[in-house]
């Protein structure tokens, strides 16, 4: 993956030495940004969920992701140690400095779109966490142990919704199919290769290259989709730019989630 000259991290930070810290920083920031962006985006459903129980559920999912993002940003600042805290990382970068996957550049859309985006993301994230379960970076392995216990409920919940929409009659199925078709070519961006990935594998920070994780995820998700009578996922479009060149929809979201920070720096509640 190239970054078109964008430097989301000051890549010359102390300790960037043999590539381990640089790769680790890139991994942590991309994961944190993924969780932060989908968490903030799905929190837009709070108060307007399709039914009360689902309003509560999607809000809980979003809350979980924001907490996970906060913990991952915390690990990131410990590695980079450039004086910025987790809030500064979360809120003070320009839109082009975020490293979330292109899948999450899509807006939440309607309910079918939200479910399709979340199902594609949760299944990929679960595969990524599995590959980090034995990580040599102790703080990451310990956090991943915790995250997997919580994310299990996310996958279970969104997979039940996938089934419900796929078998819910003409309109839900049509909307789901359209959403999967529109986002399918971006789904693999969550597991696209990262700069510095070779060092991550060499140091045992991640169990195997992203290409291997992606292949296994693709096989499992395609089996599930085909089993529901839906098309298998298409190949990933432009994997070289999986985590940059963000959309107008993300720029609007960014303007929203940085609003408080921009208008009242240091605000807490």
């Amino acid at each position: 993956m190239t970054l078109d000259g964008v430097e989301p991290i000051a890549m010359d930070f102390a300790g960037a030495g043999d590539g381990r810290e640089r790769g680790l920083a890139m991994l942590l920031l991309s994961m944190a940004d993924d969780e932060f962006v989908i968490g903030f985006s799905d929190s837009e459903w709070t108060g307007i969920g399709p039914i009360l129980e689902e309003d509560v559920a999607i809000s809980s999912l979003a809350q979980d992701e924001l907490g996970h993002a906060q913990a991952l940003y915390g690990l990131f600042v410990d590695v980079v140690a450039d004086g910025r805290d987790a809030d500064a990382i979360a809120y003070d970068r320009p839109p082009e400095g975020y490293l979330h996957a292109r899948l999450l550049d899509h807006p939440r859309g309607d309910w079918a779109w939200t479910i399709a985006r979340r199902w594609l993301y949760e299944t990929a994230d679960a595969a990524r966490l599995e590959a980090l379960a034995t990580s040599s970076h102790d703080p990451l392995r310990q956090l991943v142990d915790k995250l997997r216990r919580e994310e299990r409920y996310h996958v279970m919940h969104v997979d039940a919704w996938l089934d419900r929409l796929a078998n819910g009659g003409d309109e839900p199925r049509r909307r789901l199919t359209e959403a999967l078709a529109a986002m399918g070519r971006d789904a693999g961006t969550v597991l696209a290769g990262l700069p510095g990935e070779t060092a991550l594998v060499r140091h045992g920070i991640i169990a195997e290259p992203f290409a291997a994780i992606e292949a296994r995820w693709r096989a499992v998700t395609s089996t599930r989709l085909v089993g529901l009578g839906l098309p298998a996922l298409p190949g990933t479009a432009d994997p070289e730019h999986a985590r940059n060149r963000h959309s107008e929809a993300f720029r609007a979201l960014h303007a929203e989630f940085t609003m408080v920070r921009r208008s009242e720096a240091g605000a807490t509640w």
Binding site: E53, E54, V56, A57, S60, L61, Q63, D64, E65, L66, G67, H68, Q70, A71, D138, P139, Q142, L143, D145, K146, L147, R149, E150, R152, Y153, M156, H157
Partner: protein, 164 residues
């Protein structure tokens, strides 16, 4: 010097042993579940009393994003303030809180509050009538740590603590 006189004053207070600190922690309850202490909930990871008498309490968050952490931390600090010792309360993230950390008293306390104790989804029983004829409405309830169930036997909706 102000500091040394304060230390001398503290020196006259009987040492607050770990046992005494733990006894006080038993009086601190989950902010939303008044029938369960944070000890029985398994939140207390470690209690240490330093040579200077300073108390350090390490807690585990049940869920990473739990918004009640600050409330729990300040309640613990307030409860220990009577010891007249420096108190430090921190959350530890290197060890996961798991369902197994709940004590039997904690499980009974959850049931008394109308919340089914954590178990495999297929083994959840109604906290009101003990029926196993229950169905999960939603994995996500009013807090991150609870799911929504319905009892087909006594027709009560109820919550179950998530198993993690």
């Amino acid at each position: 010097m102000v500091m040394s006189s304060r230390h001398m004053a503290l020196g006259r207070v009987p040492a607050a042993g770990v046992t005494r600190v733990r006894a006080i922690l038993r009086t601190v309850h989950d902010p939303e579940i008044p029938t369960v202490s944070i000890v029985d909930l398994g939140l207390v990871h470690d209690v240490r009393v330093g040579p200077d008498g300073g108390v350090c309490v390490e807690l585990l968050p049940t869920f990473v994003a739990c918004p009640a952490l600050e409330a729990i931390r300040s309640t613990v600090a307030d409860a220990l303030a009577g010891l007249g010792r420096p108190v430090e309360v921190t959350f530890v993230r290197t060890v996961p809180w798991t369902t197994e950390r709940l004590t039997d008293a904690g499980r009974a306390g959850l049931a008394a509050a109308g919340i089914a104790p954590p178990s495999a989804v297929a083994d959840v029983r109604c906290p009101y009538c003990d029926s196993a004829d229950v169905a999960m409405d939603s994995a996500f309830g009013p807090t991150l740590c609870r799911s929504l169930f319905y009892c087909r036997s006594c027709r009560n909706p109820f919550e179950a603590f998530k198993s993690v």
